[in-house]
Amino acid sequence: MHNEPLSRRSVMAGGAGIALAAPLPALAATERLSAAALLTTGTLPAEMARVLSGATLIHGSGDAPVTGIMVATVPSLAVLRQAVASGCNLILSAEAPLYSRPLPADANPMAKAGAERLFAEPVFKQKAAFIADHKLVIYRLPTRSEEPGPAAYLPLFTNHLARAMGLSQTADGWVFDTASVTLGTLVQRAQSAVGAHGGLRMIGDPAMPVRKVCVVPATTDLAATLTHLRQADVLVAGDLREWELVPYIADSRAAGHPKGLVALGRILSEQPGTRALAAALKVAHPGLTVNFAPHTDPFWRI
């Protein structure tokens, strides 16, 4: 993993097809916005604004003046160190630094005891101390809507994953079109779009023709995904449970209605969205350092 300062070229690529409004004038150090204010300032495409307005503060103070922004999918210790080294105190990430959701106030005693044990564990302890010592402000970006009803994935993540694979939008926000390709070609396209290696798994005949692709980044909600998957030939997903849609798709061939699966892993499936967000923030806040920390596939195979 390396720190990737955004070039103008990557900004253009990341924001392809999005009309960006004129950026705000650069702010002097004394006029630095607070983290909380920054999330709602600057003109951004609606899909980006929606994600920022739904971001949850999980570490630090939202009142802290922002010195620079680090956007990442996973706020790993490597990413946090890069943020500090490049003068960024605001971290915007799709995942959380302590590998979980914060303990709810009404957690049962067993969960509380388990959490206490983990907070005393050296890796948890050192990471929490690093965040506190450097007064980092970390917001978690939502990947799906919190509104009631079937979980809807936020278009920032769905659309950018689909675009990175060369798919085109349909009226159904989950199902995308492709010029007729084989499943094997789609797998290769997905692989190069997100940089997947050992983490990629697939189901289906590589020669199977594909026209409709259901794109579900992050985790895969069973009921909602099933509804949309019926309209598609293939599911491109991040993380899946192996007793839900995995056997459903594996059964599809024996059922005479073959469907394909391309499982990318959660992190890589979220990354086109976080990358695009970083590019748009760079444009919206030209006076600020905005860095993006790309992740390589966490998995390898032999």
């Binding site: 959380a96 590998y99 050296p122």
Partner: protein
């Protein structure tokens, strides 16, 4: 003999072997489809009653399926959202046509001593568990390797033993592994149960930080731990790469007291296609 009689005999035998009553009725361990009073022509046990597995069972004239995992794509096997689904309808039609009866044995199997799912996986891996460090850790087999080896060598050994093709590995290839914790299916051990565990060899685990503590993203944790100078790694063998084989032990156990009908293990096998050459 009927499926209901076999299930009754299974519960009676488990109780006789000291398996206490369930804390609550299991929604998992129920008949999923078919008539429990059908005459059995043969029994098949399996990690998962997939469509392909059912076809292989029918080819062997086995009409009673004992599955560890679900049949209808969710833990509670609800078919409510599937009533017009063509894949569900085709699988159901096949089951009806061949008069199959499916019963899930998940919770009971995991309450047995030893748990056949863990025991089957340990046999497959060729390892014996260390003496548990604490009563809390006794659920999770921990193995001190006879000789330390690199994660890459361990991955080679493990995948040769299990024959999996859809495994995924995280961690430094060259890290030295002394101690391994074993998981099966979605039962995934926690690194902090034993600070000396270098690598988890498990089935599947949720990626990302959506779990509530004390469950956490083991992959992200292992990467940070490695950066801090304490290398840790994970080998994910998949759900069926870890819980299929235990149902072979269950078939052998049932054959010990059900003598009237033939019983055999039919693996579900991994759902994923073999990887392409590019997946390095």
């Amino acid at each position: 003999m009927t499926p209901q009689q076999v299930v009754d005999a299974i519960y009676a035998r488990a109780a006789a072997e000291g398996v206490g009553p369930a804390p609550r009725p299991s929604y998992r361990d129920t008949f999923k489809i078919g008539n429990p009073d059908t005459a059995i022509t043969g029994i098949a046990t399996t990690g998962m009653s997939t469509f392909d597995m059912l076809k292989r069972a029918v080819a062997e004239k086995r009409n009673f399926i004992i599955t560890h995992e679900d049949t209808w794509y969710s833990d509670n096997d609800s078919v409510e959202a599937l009533s017009a689904d063509p894949i569900y309808l085709a699988k159901k039609a096949f089951i009806d046509e061949h008069g199959l009866v499916i019963w899930r044995n998940h919770d009971l199997a995991h309450r047995m001593h030893p748990d056949p799912l863990f025991a089957g996986q340990m046999d497959l891996l060729g390892w014996k568990a260390d003496k548990p460090a604490s009563p809390a850790a006794s659920r999770w087999p921990v193995v001190t390797l006879p000789e330390p080896m690199t994660l890459e060598a361990l991955a080679r050994y493990v995948t040769q033993r299990t024959g999996t093709h859809s495994h995924r590995i995280t961690g430094m290839r060259a890290m030295m592994v002394h101690k391994v914790a074993i998981g099966v299916g979605y039962a995934f051990p926690d690194f902090t149960l034993d600070d000396d565990v270098d690598v988890i060899v498990g089935g599947e685990s949720a990626e990302g930080a959506d779990s509530h503590l004390p469950t956490y993203d083991a992959t992200a944790f292992a990467q940070d731990s490695t950066l801090l100078g304490r290398p840790r790694g994970i080998i994910l063998l998949g759900h069926m790469g870890t819980e299929d084989i235990g149902m072979k032990l269950l078939a052998e156990w049932i054959a010990g007291f059900i003598k009237d009908v033939s019983i055999r293990y039919i693996p579900a096998t991994e759902p994923f296609s073999p990887p392409g050459p590019q997946q390095g």
